[in-house]
Symmetry: C2
Subunit: 318 residues, 2 copies
């Protein structure tokens, strides 16, 4: 029997996910927080975390400094607010839920990439005006087939996206910090990443938010892309230099930018990203779907089983 501290209230979960969580943790000593919104992934302080063996949710950073827990399971893909090195040194396992989000994010990235190339936002914008601008849209649209697509990152999202890109006939080039040689696609290392960008008709960022990705996609990087290229960001908003992106759009160097993540988030009313032509905003929803909560619970329960059996944990980061 493990002491399991959950950093949100059971009411934060839809009934199917809550029932599955309680059933799956039967026999354990489970304590929930009184509140704690699951959706916005804000860290929640909870007194139960101190004496817990396992913490599930989004614990407050300070709580982790005091905990006796051996295993922390986050409900997010990102873990940038936690000090993974410090947890590792204290022998505390830290796991994300990134594999749960990989497929939905990859599908949204593909939807945005194809949508931008096939001009779906442009024709949707014509709809309130009942404009049937067939010839103009046909002339201006592009194909993913044959298109050079720079994919930043080779984590779970990129690996879920890659088969679809290949199936459609795109020519993806992956940028990975270190090339290991086992990648199924052409891959360049980070220190030569402009080779992947040069002449690319699309850029898909899947990189997480870390110190060395902040502002990575800057004016010089965007200038490498082919004129009219589209940018899709499903990684972190901070990875793209927003001002450089807006400038490249205003100068018509870029054909469009579809952003599921922005810097800052939520994007405040009046921000230029809301209103600049050919910027399409999606409010950090690419990882979600109607089965999200149940899948997160299943992922946690699988890791609890692995932790108890001393087997390798899924999505372990520390």
């Amino acid at each position: 029997m493990a002491r399991i501290a959950v950093t949100f209230a059971p009411t934060a979960l839809p009934p199917d996910a809550r029932d599955r969580l309680l059933q799956g943790l039967a026999g354990h000593d489970v304590s929930f927080a009184d509140d704690g919104d699951w959706s916005n992934l804000q860290p929640t302080s909870s007194p139960h975390t101190h004496a817990a063996d396992v913490i599930y949710g989004q614990p407050a950073v300070d709580d982790l400094q005091r905990t006796d827990a051996r295993f922390v399971q986050l409900t997010s893909a990102g873990y940038g607010r936690y000090d993974a090195d410090a947890l590792r040194q204290r022998g505390i396992a830290l796991c994300t839920s990134s594999s749960v989000y990989a497929q939905p994010v990859a599908e949204s990235a593909l939807a945005m990439l194809l949508g931008a190339l096939r001009r779906l936002p442009h024709t949707l914008a014509d709809q309130p005006h009942a404009r049937w601008n067939a010839a103009a849209h046909r002339r201006a649209s592009s194909l993913l087939h044959g298109a050079r697509v720079a994919v930043l990152g080779w984590g779970a999202i990129a690996q879920a996206l890659a088969p679809a890109l290949v199936a459609v006939g795109a020519r993806p080039v992956v940028v990975r910090r270190t090339v290991r040689g086992d990648e199924p696609l052409p891959t360049v290392p980070r220190d030569r990443w402009h080779e992947a960008l040069h002449g690319a008709e699309a850029l898909v960022n899947t990189l997480p938010g870390t110190d060395d990705t902040e502002g990575l996609v800057d004016a010089d990087a965007l200038a490498q892309l082919a004129p009219g290229a589209v940018v899709v960001n499903v990684g972190r908003g901070t990875t793209i230099d927003t001002e450089a992106l807006l400038d490249a759009l205003r100068r018509d160097h870029l054909g469009g930018a579809w952003l599921d993540v922005t810097d800052p988030e939520p994007l405040p009313p009046g921000h230029a990203l809301w209103t600049t032509d050919r910027v399409w905003i999606s409010p950090h929803v690419a990882g979600g779907w109607r089965g999200e909560h149940l899948a997160l619970v299943e992922h946690f329960l699988a890791n609890v089983g692995r932790w108890q059996a001393d087997e390798p944990l899924l999505d372990r980061r520390a």
Copy 2:
């Protein structure tokens, strides 16, 4: 040397496609029409068609009744306005350009399908209001992975779409007039097609407009789909009963309908399809892209070469 009648003016083509056409037909006796808009695919009467060996474009139906031509190459995928049986009896080969359009249409269908499931139109509609409705959109969105997708038709479009559906992890079921047993996906014959629809989370229509597809997707067919299902039409507008579609949307049985083709076309201002909630209109552009005209010319030139060498013609319909 063949006499080749083109039913549009050379100025109707972008320079790269025009240059390639003239270069590819050098040595032949080529006559162009004085006008004739390439884009809207309206048939054009031309006196040159009478004594031509080859007709290229969208000839007037009456002109084909008087022509001596042996080979008619249409620039469209559809050929419903021509009497293929009559042409066949007179020994006149009729070819479409359907294989040119298959990839772009498949890409648009995938973009619309993924876009509807991942709620891209919903988040785009929030953008002018600077609404960051993350939780609501996450809860309501769906995945293509694991989704049952009924694909109507097994022509070039469906065959171009299928690998991408499989790569994303969808579960497509194809409806084909006659099942031949060589299909790479689960396939049901037209007389049992409701089996493919039953419980499907998406319907993608790729069928051409023929007598036996008119109104095929009626209220009974739509009722078979799972609640919240999305409908994508890249075939012909007449294949879907518009009133039944609107009714299913208004009753919230359907989650949305993305239509590249409508009945009628162009969709007149004030038509309910322009304004009904969760109908997304694309003005018959799915087959287009910036390389469309050049690709059509290449396809024609390839068929001219085959015709001269007495080899099987591409996309032959009569």
